[in-house]
Amino acid sequence: MTNTIGDLEEADVILITGSNTSENHPVISSYIKRAVKFNGTQLIVVDPRRIKMTTFASHWLRQNLGTDVAWINGLMHVIIQEELHDKAFIDSRTKGFEELKAMVEKFTPEYVEEITGIPAQQLIDAARLYAGAKNAAIVYCMGITQHISGTDNVKSLANLAMLTGNLGNAGGGVNPLRGQNNVQGACDMGGLPNVFSGYQPVTSDAVIQKMEAAWGVTGLSNKVGLKVTEMIPKALEGELKALYIIGENPLVSDADLNHVVKGIDNLDFLVVQDIFMTETARAADVVLPSACFAEKDGTFSNTERRIQRVRKAVDSPGEARDDWWITTQIAKRMGVDMDYENAEAIMAEIAQVTPSYGGITYDRIDFEGLHWPCPTADHPGTPILHKGQFPIGRGNFHAIDFTPPAESTDEEYPLYLTTGRVIYHYHTGTMTRKSEGLNERVPENFVEISSKDAKAFGVSDGDTIEISSRRGKISAVAKVCTTAVSGTVFIPFHFAESAVNMLTSAALDPVSGIPEYKVCAVKLAAAQ
């Protein structure tokens, strides 16, 4: 997030898109709901499903799946047309406005309606509301990123915020909600193929030299590595021979699972480090038991870039050990000494080599976490990014055209499928499905379907039905409800025994490598 969670209550208008906030980030949704209820904040929701947040919204725009660039360009078309853009901000802090203006020229409300299904007047109203606000915040999540156009979608939202001067201001900003406790931290710590910790590029000679000196090694690679979504095909082709997987379950979470299974099977060596015998661990040659969050010291960095303490409350079961300990022990046996006394000693090294974490110590974050960038010991942290200036100087407008999703419906596969989570479960369910209570609330997989589609396909509430895509089929219980909008069904991805990722498409965003989980074409049939 460019801004903080608490900052949402300062917004005059909040635009939520691709985030089922009340189910996936319930505590953040409360900030938004309070803003609407007590502060008069106006809420715009753009989402293909009639999610709970739409009931708090003054405007719900229902777009066709995978058409986000079109409606965002449409909003900008209206804003520029009606001269609601922030000229001072654009002049002083951005570049590329003319190219953007030329690009959005054709995205008239009528043209956008054709692509997205959003009525022209609704688009105009939303544009006026968003642009007319003193401070308007954008909140988004995987509904924006998990598309072949995911990167374009994110850039388009950034365009929209810059166009209206909503960056660097309290109650504004572009705010992605992170779905996992430490996805921010995993990125910050160099868990990415192209950067060391603190986003220092592996392709920079200066960075390589710095890290070699800090780590006391030579020969660090300056070649960008493989993304997770590239590793699997490389495994299938036999180029990738071994994988060391820590706390991940790609055999449930990845798109087009049949393909993933084949790739994993083709490895010469797989080591999996986890707290449970996951589907992925079962495929491993060696399984290493690790400690869970309640059993370790350390830090997580949350969605607002706040670095917060994790503290050991109980002992880990049996011989399970801290993840970092296990990794350093393998390193030692490969001839590299990576000993640390404890997690705090690792943080000291992180602070030394990571500019944005330079001022972080356990003492400083003992009571309340700090937001990075926090470069020095006396730096107060940075709750709001891009105040006064962007790190790159001027913010770039990206002129982006609409590209349709990779897959569309046809006579054989007449319905769209989109995927996500429910409030009672988490990701691949390895943790939440160990809870009797959570299982009682949502015991099994289901497919959410509108009453109109249910009627058209002869499905009744509670029926077990078969859902197939061009890649696979699963069965699930039909849940006829008002959340679904006709033409699109929804299935959560928590259930390994009925894994929706058997159906999803592995078409990738060309830049980020994110699969298009949010759009594929399916058909329904009575279960055999």
Partner: protein, 377 residues
């Protein structure tokens, strides 16, 4: 000091900012005023009358949670009149239900008929499930009242325990309404409200349905807000007492909000979770997963030993064996096929320290940049 904006509390002249309540001024200056219905950051309701104070010149006692401080006000927080009023409020509350803490009948060494009755009702041989963790009990002790002044009133509504998370014990509800505010004003889930009237008043979900058939999403904000034993975590009820546990503050391991929570540990196990109040980002709020989804920690299915696969079956192995085998295999592949034939998937679930070490391992030990995690998935 600007005489325009000061009040006098118990003889101390104290500044205030316009709009502040008497209670807020007192709390800011560490002057204790008891509260029950008051929920921080929510609109005061003045429902319970326990926070009454004497204001010079006022005809009756004033609820300090709702009354704004005014220029020149002279306030007494523990005058005889105030104490008498609070005692009455407490006596009435204690007589209305199953408040079977020791204070209800203070002198007798024996268990009373009443306590035995309540034990039977609760199917427990212990005193109230929140004994020692109850604001009503605490105040009854502080003001030295028992419930014997008024006859005991019947329990009007049966207990509800048909959901997996929360027991609603109406026999211990003092109708302060904190839960209603927690639900409607803090989490804004709008699941519960005041229903019926007068002595029939009940906190209801939807049209008086069980929670599980209402809008309730079991965030448990109401449980944390409840000052008495009316709303208790089902798994902790009669099983977890505050003096048996230690609390360890940490960060939730589910989504990316990073809620601050207290793990309540009893005999080496996490038995209850509460939100940490007064600190960002969640100020005490949690969701159903954070508050109730901790069973996995103690799960029998946790991996407890390294495993090595032989002939398609896993067998237990020592750390030395498993680590050496892993190092040997990775080393051999690095040697024959090059560093880029190996990949590392680190995790959005583990700590910064774990991730940093994984990043260093891939780059400095394996010498590859083939490292990623599930941010994209």
């Amino acid at each position: 000091m600007d005489a325009q904006n000061t009040i006098v509390i118990n003889g101390n002249e104290l500044p205030f900012t316009p709009g502040e309540t008497i209670l807020q001024v007192a709390q800011r200056n560490s002057i204790p005023i008891p509260t029950l219905c008051h929920l921080k950051n929510a609109t005061p309701t003045g429902q319970c009358r326990i926070c009454v104070v004497e204001v010079k010149g006022a005809r009756s006692l004033v609820a300090s949670c709702a009354a704004p401080a005014a220029k020149g006000m002279v306030v007494l927080t523990e005058s005889p009149k105030v104490i008498e009023a609070r005692r009455l409020v407490l006596q009435l509350m204690l007589s209305s239900g199953n408040h079977n803490c020791a204070v209800r009948v203070s002198d007798d060494q024996e268990w009373s008929r009443f306590q035995l009755d309540v034990n039977q009702y609760d199917q427990s041989n212990e005193l109230c499930p929140v004994w020692g963790d109850c604001e009503l009990q605490h105040l009854a002790y502080q003001y030295q009242v028992s419930a014997e002044r008024f006859p005991r009133t019947d329990v009007p509504y049966p207990m509800e325990d048909i959901n997996p998370f929360i027991v609603r014990d109406f026999s211990r509800c003092i109708k302060c309404g904190r839960c209603v505010q927690a639900c409607n004003d803090v989490q804004v889930n709008n699941a519960i409200s005041f229903g019926y009237r007068g002595t029939d008043t009940k906190i209801i979900a939807a049209e008086d349905k069980p929670l599980k058939n209402s809008e309730c999403v079991f965030c448990g904000e109401c449980v944390q807000a409840c000052p008495v034993g009316a709303l208790v975590e089902k798994n902790a009820r009669y099983r977890v007492r505050p003096w048996e546990t230690k609390q360890v503050r940490t960060t939730c391991s589910y989504c990316g909000v990073g809620c601050q929570l207290n793990l309540h540990v009893k005999e080496g196990k996490v038995v209850k979770v509460t939100g940490v109040e007064d600190v960002a980002p969640n100020y005490g709020s949690l969701c159903v997963k954070g508050r109730f989804g901790f069973d996995f920690i103690n799960s029998e299915e946790r991996l407890t030993t390294p495993l090595i696969k032989e002939d398609g079956e896993f067998r237990k192995a020592s750390w030395e064996e498993a680590l050496s085998l892993t190092a040997e295999k990775l080393g051999a592949i690095k040697q024959t096929d090059g560093p880029d034939a190996i990949g590392v998937l680190t995790s959005a679930r583990v700590s910064n320290e774990d991730n940093y070490v994984a990043n260093k391992f891939a780059r400095a030990v394996l010498k590859t940049n083939n490292i990623d995690h599930c941010a994209r998935l």
